[in-house]
Each structure stands twice: as C-alpha cells, then as structure tokens.
C-alpha cells in the first residue's frame, strides 16, 4: 500500500511540472528600458555620434552656402529638420544589431511576454538618448543659422514629437535589416521615404512659427502621426524581428 502511494506521488511529481504563463509585463518592460539605458550610457560614443554629426552638418551650411543671415533664416527650418532626421537615422542601424550578434535577441523572442511591447521599450530608449537630445540641441544650432527668435520652442517641440515617430518607423527598418551583414544602406532606402510626412509637418511647424502663423495644426498632425506610429509600429517591429530571426 505504502509503495503504491509513493509511486502515485512520484507520478504526480513527474506529470505536473508544467509552468503556467506568468504576468510581470511591467517588470519586463522596465527591466528592458533600464538595461538598454545602462548599456548606452556605458558606450557614450554611440550616444554622442548622432549629436556630433548633427552639429557638424549644420556648421557646414553657413560655410558652404553663404553666411548671409537672411538666406540662412529662410532655409534654416528645413536644414535643421533634415540634418536631425539623418542624425537619427545614423544611430538606427545599431538598435537591434548588438542584441542580434550576442544572442540576446533570440532570447527576447523566446520570452512569453509580448515582443511588440518589449521592442517598444528598446525604441523608447533610442528616442530618449537620440531624438530628445537632438531636439534640445537644435535651438542652439538654430542660432548659428540665424533662425528668427520666437521659433526656438516650436523647433524643439516639433523635433521632440517628430523624432519619436522617426524612431518608431525607423525601428521597423532596423528590425527588417538586422539579419543582413551590411544593412545600413538598405535601411536608409527603406526608411527615408516613410520619413517624408514627418519632415513636411515638422519643418512646416517651424516655418509657420517664423511667419507668425498658427503652429498648432502642424504640431497636432505631428502628434497624430506619433499616435498612429505608436499603435502600429510595435507590431510591425515584432513581425520584422521574427522574419529576420527566421531567415
């Protein structure tokens, strides 16, 4: 009798080790944000590169075109926006690359947590350390381009809003090209056309501020673009990552 009892408990032990799915999405999201922040802050050069690129490109224009403040002021909104956009693009290639190379990306795909939200965490860190600093730096470079006073706040705000969309859209391209050894150029070709709407309304907002028109419409559309990107991009990023890992 005792023997059978022991056997049944043993059998139960063997049959029931299966783990039920656990929650803890917030914990996983927070930990991913923290991990990526720590990683990027330990490799400062990667954070600095886009900012230095932005500053140098903007410096080149007065040298190359003309130091005439009137001419520069006319083209300043577009220049600042295009340069910031390219600077943000520059840092995108490394968004998933390191994780792909060291195997953490496959671990990320094998967690029971939704991949879309975990990749959103990575994009959020990218924006925090690329888009936001670019937006804060832009007014300073605006002075160099003789940007009229009164448009600085709109410039920073439009870049902060717009660069978040740029990070989200760009991350789709980065996820698609992460498996390719030289995906950088392809990434630009994929992503740049998708940046056009953000560029139009971003530069438009600054232009409107200079002319004294209302800027709320432009900023509202930038916000709407961001909302749409926030809803759809994470799923597209997750699907692209799965395609890249499968390939």
């Amino acid at each position: 009798m005792a023997v059978t009892e022991r056997m049944t408990t043993e059998a139960a032990d063997v049959d029931t080790p299966s783990v039920e799915p656990q929650g803890g999405l917030g914990v996983a999201f927070g930990a991913t944000v923290k991990r990526d922040l720590v990683l990027l802050l330990r490799r400062r050069s990667e954070v600095m590169n886009p900012l230095v690129f932005f500053a140098i490109v903007i410096t080149l224009f007065p040298i190359g075109i003309s130091p005439d403040p009137e001419l520069l002021a006319t083209i300043a909104p577009g220049l600042l926006w295009v340069a910031a956009l390219l600077a943000a693009l520059l840092s995108l290639d490394s968004l998933f690359r390191a994780d792909y190379d060291d195997g953490s990306l496959e671990q990320l795909l094998l967690t029971p947590q939704p991949l879309a939200l975990l990749s959103l965490a990575k994009v959020a860190v990218h924006w925090l350390l690329t888009g936001l600093p670019l937006a804060l730096m832009a007014p300073v470079l605006g002075i160099m381009l003789a940007l009229p006073a009164g448009s600085y706040a709109v410039l920073a705000l439009s870049l902060a809003l717009g660069s978040a969309s740029l990070s989200l859209i760009g991350a789709i391209g980065a996820a698609l090209t992460v498996g390719l050894s030289r995906g950088g150029v392809l990434l630009s070709l994929l992503v740049l056309p998708l940046y056009i709407p953000v560029l139009i309304f971003g530069a438009g907002a600054v232009q409107a501020a200079i002319l004294g028109d209302g800027v709320t419409a432009h900023l509202a559309i930038l916000g709407a673009l961001l909302a749409v990107a926030l809803i759809f991009a994470p799923w597209a990023i997750a699907a692209s990552l799965r395609i890249s890992i499968n390939g």
Binding site: D102, L110, P112
Partner: protein, 214 residues
C-alpha cells in the same frame, strides 16, 4: 497539463538538401535527449525548430496535447533555451545580465537568488566585473547560471559545454541528470560524450539522412 513535446513527421530542407525527413520525436518529463550527428547535420536547426524559433519546416509540433501554434505562450513559459551565442551583454556585469533575464521570466527582482546562482555556477568574485572582461568559459557560465535562476521544466541547450573546463562539464552534466530526475526534461546537442544513465536517450541525425531512430 503534462510535460510532453512531440514532433511528427518533421522535415527540414536547406539549400536543396534534406537535413532530416520523417523525424518523429516524443520528449517526456524525466528524459535527457541528446541530439547527435556530424557538423552540418542540422542539430542546431532541429533545436531551433523545436524551441519555436524557425517556422520553415514541414510536419507537426505538439506541446502537451495541443498543436504548438495554439500553445505557444504556455510552451514559452516552460522553455529555457541556451543557444550558440550565450546571450549575455559584454558591457553589463553578470548580476545585471541575470537581472534582465529574471525580469523577462516574470520573476520578482531578487538579488540574493542571482548571487546564489552565480555562486553555484562558480563565478564568486566576478559578480560586478563587466562580462566582456571575463573569459569565454566564464561568459558561458553566466548564461548557464540562468538554469539555476529560472525554474523551467524544459531545457533546450545547444552545445552548452563549449569553453567549459572539465570540472564545470562534470557539474553541468550532474545538473542535467538531476533536472531530469526531478521531472524536467533536457534536449541537448553536444560533441562531449555524456555519461550513460537511465534518463539518457539519443536521437541521431545523419548527414543528409532521414534516420530518426533512437
């Protein structure tokens, strides 16, 4: 739900060559299944298919009694996969690396269990050294510490003995057997000869062959 991973009539083609065909596998609790075969015979591919990473295969996979597609979340909650790449960040310390994995697994933050895992895997004194400064074997040990940190019944290990010293290999082998005896199951590829025991079963992949025998 009982622990059981089944593959029926599994086939995978790479570059016009069948890596394996008509492979039937039934992996149950309490087993160590060693996938054998020469280089290029598809061991890693099989492990990736069985761990749900590759969708490019023919045949059916079942977790418990349910098809894998429907049971994916439940399956992933039971799985611990260690691939070729250790999946540890060189710029983070072993403790920080494990903290991320602990959070991903949905476990509460608990530094003492991380320290305990690192201690028992033989990394005392290296907890706060950036992982990139450790040796290849020690980096592999950081990844292996996850076996102790996160209790998951199904272990899928791709060449876990790479760069591990002789004592480490013996300890790890011991852990695999203990895990199987406690009702877990282990799916492993290795070129290292495992000590025969009651739990061990072999699956042989031939080069281009379709041999699915035990």
């Amino acid at each position: 739900m009982s622990l059981r991973l089944q593959a029926r009539n599994l086939a995978c083609e790479r570059d016009d060559r069948w890596l394996f065909r008509g492979l039937d596998l039934d992996i149950r609790a309490g087993e160590i299944v060693r996938v054998e075969g020469p280089n290029g015979s598809g061991k890693t591919t099989l492990l990736k298919i069985l761990s749900g990473q590759l969708a490019d295969y023919e045949g059916d996979l079942f977790w418990g009694e349910r098809p894998m597609r429907q049971a994916r979340e439940a399956f992933l909650s039971n799985l611990l996969y260690l691939g070729h790449a250790p999946g540890v960040k060189a710029a983070l310390t072993p403790l920080e690396n494990l903290a991320w994995y602990q959070a991903l697994a949905g476990q509460p933050r608990d530094e003492s269990s991380r320290l305990a895992a690192l201690e028992s895997i033989g990394l005392v004194g290296f907890e706060d050294v950036p992982t990139g400064q450790l040796s290849a074997g020690q980096q592999r040990r950081v990844a292996l510490a996850r076996l102790l940190l996160t209790p998951r019944p199904l272990w899928v290990l791709d060449e876990p003995f790479t760069a591990i010293d002789r004592d480490g290999v013996r300890d790890l082998e011991q852990r695999l057997v203990e895990h199987a005896r406690r009702g877990g199951c282990v799916l492993v590829t290795t070129h290292h000869e495992l000590t025969p025991c009651a739990e061990l079963r072999r699956v042989r992949l031939g080069a281009g062959g379709s041999d699915g025998g035990h």
